[in-house]
Amino acid sequence: MITAMPGIAERIGCHRVVKGVAINNPTGDARLAREEELVQRKKILDASLELLEK
């Protein structure tokens, strides 16, 4: 799960949780330039893929 509130996800029993950027845009950040945002989103995805293998 990707969420900006990982504490809640873990408290209710989610096993694989990645911290998202913000509640209203968990996998993006409008304040960043497009290319920076893509890099950030890729990192979030990569962290998720890594957790899926653990």
């Binding site: 799960m1 809640i8 509640i23 968990p26 993006g28």
Partner: protein
């Protein structure tokens, strides 16, 4: 004359009149004047020789995303006022608000030793966070605020005077998972027989030992090799084709839908939108990949870091959605994905 009772009140950006979702990132502040529920509370408590001496405010998103910092700053403001009682505005069914009010009440009691009370819908995720403070049960919808504040005040006075001694059911607060022994005139055998007879006859009865409802889900086995796995994208952020053709609910989610992403490299602005009523939608409407990372998932597929991106994404709404509905939809989604040979899913939550 007895000393005046000092009260500090907490509320979120909405009840403070600062704004809606667009101001959910409000940092912790003290208000100069009484507003909204704080003003209403001041009228309720007047007769008790009590006064709201300070109102503190924090945005729901700020608290959720920066809990330790928010608690630290708020506790500093609250401590400076030396209140006798701390109250946090009813959260009703609002999950983020409930988490914030419950967490700050818990911290005020634990760290400052001040009685603290809030109120929320019993299914609110915040209800499990309030101990050793208290939360009174409310309806799911924000209604009858004055009545709720009156009940909170009456209860808070009892907490302050050490008069809350009975069970949650007897004292009418949301159970906190605390179990205390009580002495009864009747023996266990004398008490259990009427319960058993009621149960046999199909009549209502109240158990003395309510077993906790464990909801633990065993962690699925890890994917052995993502490079060969089929990955699905799922969200509770209500991402739908523009116009919401299937009329997905914006809150109180009951349905989930499947939409094709075959051949798509990203979610194009203007062709998809979020209709979730629980947060400011503009950022995601501007770029829906900020909710569900299709663009980078597709890149991962092309680069061979995943075997295949499943051609369909699943969507529902996690805003004030009943726990029972969420469980049902989760099971249905999992069954569908499993039947389609999906090995893993990334779920985004807002």
């Amino acid at each position: 004359m007895a000393d005046q009772i000092k009260v500090v009140f907490y509320m979120n950006q909405f009840f403070a009149g600062i704004g809606g979702e667009e101001k959910a990132d409000q940092i912790p502040i003290e208000l100069e004047e009484l507003k909204g529920p704080a003003l209403a509370l001041s009228q309720v408590i007047k007769e008790s020789n009590a006064e709201v001496v300070k109102t503190v405010v924090c945005g729901d998103s700020f608290f959720g995303e920066n809990e330790e910092q928010a608690k630290k700053e708020l506790l500093g403001m609250i401590k400076a006022a030396s209140p006798d009682i701390f109250l946090a505005s009813p959260a009703f069914g609002s999950g983020r608000n409930g988490v914030a009010t419950a967490s700050i009440c818990s911290a005020v009691t634990q760290e400052l030793g001040i009685p603290a009370v809030t109120a929320m819908y019993p299914d609110n995720p915040g209800s499990e966070l309030v101990y050793p403070a208290y939360a009174l049960p409310t309806s799911n919808r924000a209604e009858k605020m004055i009545n709720v504040l009156e009940d909170m005040w009456d209860f808070a006075l009892k907490v302050k005077d050490g008069e809350v001694r009975g069970s949650a059911a007897r004292e009418n607060y949301i159970p906190r998972g605390v179990r205390k022994n009580e002495v009864d005139e009747s023996t266990a055998a004398e008490r259990v027989l009427p319960l058993l007879l009621s149960k046999i006859k199909g009549e209502a009865y109240v158990t003395e030992v309510a077993l906790p409802k464990h909801d633990a889900v065993e962690a699925p086995k890890p994917v052995t090799n993502m490079k060969k796995a089929t990955l699905a994208l799922v969200t509770e952020g209500s991402l739908v084709p523009f116009g919401n053709p299937d009329k997905l609910e914006s809150w109180w989610g009951e349905h989930w839908y499947k939409y094709s992403i075959e051949g798509l490299d990203d979610f194009e602005k203007g062709k998809y939108e979020t209709i979730h009523a629980g947060f400011e939608n503009a950022n995601i409407d501007d770029d829906p990949d900020r909710l569900l990372p299709l663009d980078v998932a597709r890149i991962a597929e092309k680069e061979g870091r995943i075997g295949k991106l499943f051609d369909i994404y699943l969507t529902t709404t996690g805003m004030e959605t009943a726990t029972s509905s969420a469980k049902r939809m989760g099971r249905e989604m999992a069954e569908f994905l499993r039947s389609e040979g999906v090995d893993a899913a990334i779920v985004t939550g807002t």
